[in-house]
Subunit: 204 residues, 2 copies
């Protein structure tokens, strides 16, 4: 689940270099911010594309150059999340196991986004209460697990279709979700990944 906030820290997001790319990124961000604000204020279905474009002071065509469909406005930095997730596996320190890398990623990136962000709950509610967004998020989640499963297969040398890869990918993305309901998410995540780590090392 992507965080709705603006990237302020110099995180792992590819810092735009030229003025051109910086401006483009700024426009994109202005659109996403305006959209999220309006959606949270009045609900996803009550806000039209034109209105968002007006609020961000761009034309609707420009809006669609940045976001292919309306739903994508809500899951703005989703593609970045997936990139970082795959990077966490592919570029993990030598000697670190794949589940360990995933745990680290879950603890740093995902938990940090969740509890530093005050609007996170509101965001989650928005998605949960809007059918169109629920469906979109669900399919997004499936694409992420598929991509992660493939990356795991490549990194571990297992066959691309091996169900173990799919299962690990599935659990690794499900664990943080389940942990939010827990009173101590940090601990819940750690223990869940302990389980995965043991199972993984036994099976590979």
């Amino acid at each position: 689940m992507p965080s709705p906030t603006t990237d302020t820290a110099t995180g792992p997001s590819p810092a735009p270099v030229g003025r051109r790319e910086r401006k483009k990124a700024a426009t994109r961000q202005a659109i996403a911010d305006a959209a999220l604000r309006l959606f949270l204020e009045r609900g996803y279905d009550e806000v039209g594309i034109r209105e968002i474009a007006d609020a961000a002071d761009v034309s609707t065509t420009t809006l669609f150059k940045h976001f292919p469909v309306k739903e994508a406005l809500v899951f703005d930095e989703d593609s970045g999340q997936e990139t970082r997730l795959l990077a966490a596996v592919r570029e993990r320190p030598k000697g670190q196991s794949i589940p360990a890398a995933l745990r680290e990623h879950a603890l740093t990136t995902r938990l940090a986004a969740a509890d530093s962000d005050a609007g996170f709950t509101a965001f989650t509610n928005l998605v949960a209460s809007t059918p169109a967004l629920r469906d979109y998020a669900q399919n997004m989640w499936l694409r992420h697990t598929a991509a992660l499963a493939q990356a795991i297969a490549e990194e571990s040398g297992l066959a691309a279709g091996d169900p173990i890869c799919a299962a690990l990918a599935h659990f690794a993305l499900e664990a943080p979700r389940a942990a939010y309901a827990h009173d101590n998410p940090r601990k819940a995540i750690t223990r869940a990944f302990d389980l995965l780590e043991h199972g993984w090392s036994a099976l590979t």
Copy 2:
């Protein structure tokens, strides 16, 4: 995966009684048939709603009274499928285990639809090659597993959220899918459900 063909046999579908309901069913079928024919001929995205309505000789308003969204035209009898699936579990003969009931249902209903229907492959290809339909089918599939999981929980007396129910539901719907790739689907299904049956009896 639902079969695209018209119901001709007196299957478990609730036979319409009054003239009114019969007519209604007839229009619905006319629309679905026209839609599928056009989609197979020219592709999902190349056929508009208005064209389908014309082909079925109804107004677009009427079309949407029968099918809430365009995608639903393709998965016409999906809701019936789900009903029959749940019924197979809930109304199984006394003494029959849940996995056994699911196997029977897979063997009769689902396999029968698949290899009796010449257009089945074309239908599958249509869905697989159209992103909108892939996504829709995926979400449909998830709703089915959720519904099945709940039915299994009720029938077995396990807690509603028990992961075992979700897992059995998942595998029971996945098995026939995987079996189509096999050279002898009937045998593949039977063996897959043997596995589930043993696991189930051990765990409950």
